[in-house]
């Protein structure tokens, strides 16, 4: 139980940190920021790698989670980078 209280604490602090970080972002960067944040949500890949495999069903679920999280990670970062490269000043 203690660990949950500790991690709940981490959760709350991170949310407040996130709110503070984003509060003043110029609208030019709204799309890259959203797309960059979207790539970060691919962190689910770490969770997918932690799954255990016991039987075929679990293997399929793990494979699916790894596959889709990877699409999110690779696609997300590349699209964000492509977008940002257009914003470079001339």
């Amino acid at each position: 139980m203690e660990i949950y209280i500790l991690l709940g604490f981490v959760l709350l602090l991170s949310i407040f940190l996130g709110l503070e970080l984003i509060a003043k972002v110029p609208s030019t960067l709204h799309t890259p920021l959203m797309s960059g944040a979207n790539a970060i949500s691919g962190i689910a890949l770490v969770g997918a790698l932690m799954l255990s495999s016991a039987g075929q069903m679990q293997d399929i679920l793990a494979f699916g989670a790894i596959l889709f999280a990877s699409i999110n990670v690779f696609g997300g970062y590349l699209v964000t980078n492509r977008m940002l490269s257009m914003f470079k000043k001339k």
Binding site: Y4, S27, A37, S41, I43, V73
Partner: protein
């Protein structure tokens, strides 16, 4: 055994390092000068976090390699091939896949024996949020890419909306299920029913929302995928998942609020009410006549203008007119005209949509201005060119109290000396509200495809 404990310590230290890198990365993404580096930093953080997790694996390595390589290939291909105009739906799609991954993680955890009560609650919450993110994002993808045309009011939409409302008591039931089942017999396949219901609920959640409300939905779904990842982190007792997930959840929430504010509406109003139920305003029946104009005439007026404000909207994205718009802007500047671009926060279909398109066309972002910058000096503008925007320039928002969009901050082009409105036809905008701007004394309508019309003006300039 001691070896295993050591590995866990190392993993946790690396997780803390990558959490810090994620935080710095997001911070840097929020500033123009450091945005590119910020994205690299966050990608590096992801690499560390994933790499160190691989030190202790239970799943077959073949499955992991197959999943990562295949997923990486698909993701990269989509990201490289996608046209810049299709960015909103791509972001929605990637976001949905992230949601699906958390959905599957929680499902897999459910199959593990001996979950504690708290774990059971977390599993159900993660499945619910992850599932809604997934199917909701797919619907958003379908709507944005115009593959899906079902909207509010259709029979199918209503069925899925009822699934959405049904899913909430179902969530409470599955959360309480372990304690209930001691007293009453278990519903045999309650879990599979819940899985399906969750996915149906996501469809019902996004289906009725459309058009101009899309920027709000996209950023909300983005936020949800982060929250789902954070819950999965609680479930797996993994701190980097919690930190990264909550950062995404919080940033998505802020963007959602910014978007809703730009429309002067509350988030609940956008999600559950929509425009249609606002009181029908038919006060301004007497609209008068529209004054059409040809590209030739438009050119003559533009040639003599000393200041021009371009106000793009979703129509510019549809017509893919951003490149000719930039060309026209450059020719005007060569001609000694001052050119600015007025960007409304909710113009387009995702936050910052117009900024991306204009950046793609190489418009310098010094020229982009927000409504508050351009409105005070609007009466000094000779020509305001509205390209495929409608509701964001509708004067009813400031003048007509009964109007459904009354109170929404707009770009007040009607105060400019002359307004050109480029439009395909006289249909009303997403809000379904007639736009009195079209009938104003100083407004000229340039009907036709925006790309062609501007192309003709550009050709005249070159002659």
């Amino acid at each position: 055994m001691e070896n295993l404990a050591n590995i866990q310590v190392i993993q946790n230290i690396v997780y803390i390092v990558s959490s810090v890198m994620f935080i710095l990365g997001i911070k840097m993404l929020g500033k123009e000068a450091t945005a590119v580096k910020g994205n690299y930093l966050s990608a590096l953080a992801m690499f560390f976090a994933v790499g160190i997790t691989c030190l202790s694996l239970e799943i077959d390595l073949k499955i992991i390699l197959a999943g990562v390589l295949l997923g990486g290939l698909i993701g990269s291909l989509i990201a490289i091939k996608v046209k810049m105009t299709a960015i909103p739906e791509m972001v929605a799609l990637f976001n949905g896949f992230g949601g699906l991954a958390t959905f599957l993680i929680a499902w897999s955890q459910f199959n593990e024996p001996s979950n504690s009560m708290l774990q059971h609650v977390l599993i159900m919450l993660t499945i619910y949020i992850g599932g809604i993110t997934f199917s909701g994002s797919l619907i958003a993808y379908g709507k944005l890419s115009e593959k899906l045309r079902l909207g509010k009011g259709s029979m199918i939409t209503n069925i899925f909306i009822s699934f959405f409302y049904l899913s909430m008591p179902a969530l409470i039931y599955v959360i309480a299920e372990p304690s209930i089942s001691q007293f009453i017999p278990q519903v045999p396949s309650y879990f599979s029913i819940f899985l399906v219901l969750t996915l149906a609920a996501g469809i019902g959640f996004v289906m009725p929302i459309g058009g101009g409300d899309m920027p709000v939905v996209i950023s909300l779904l983005n936020s949800l995928s982060g929250i789902a990842a954070a819950f999965a982190g609680l479930l797996l007792l993994n701190n980097v998942l919690i930190v990264a997930g909550s950062l995404v959840g919080a940033s998505g929430l802020i963007l959602t609020i910014i978007m809703a504010k730009a429309m002067n509406r509350t988030i609940t109003n956008i999600l559950f009410v929509g425009y249609a139920s606002s009181s029908q305003s038919t006060t301004s029946e007497e609209q008068g006549e529209v004054k059409p104009i040809t590209s030739d005439d438009a050119y003559l007026i533009l040639e003599n203008a000393s200041s021009v404000l371009v106000v793009p909207g979703y129509g510019m994205a549809v017509a893919q007119a951003q490149h000719v718009v930039r060309e026209m802007g450059e020719l005007l500047e060569e001609n000694g005209t001052e050119v600015k671009y007025g960007i409304h926060p909710v113009a387009g279909r995702m936050p910052g949509h117009m900024n991306v398109l204009l950046a793609e066309a190489n418009v310098s972002y010094d020229l982009l201005a927000e409504p508050d910058d351009v409105n005070p000096s609007m009466d000094t503008i000779d020509v305001a060119i509205v390209i495929g925007a409608n509701d964001v320039v509708n004067p009813s928002a400031t003048e007509e109290e009964g109007s459904p969009i009354y109170g929404m901050p707009i770009i007040e082009v009607h105060n400019a000396k002359t307004v050109f409105v480029l439009k395909r036809s006289m249909s009303s905008g997403f809000a379904g509200v007639q736009n009195p701007l079209f009938f104003r004394e100083n407004t000229r309508m340039l009907f036709g495809d925006a790309k062609e019309s501007i192309g003709q003006i550009v050709a005249e300039f070159k002659d």
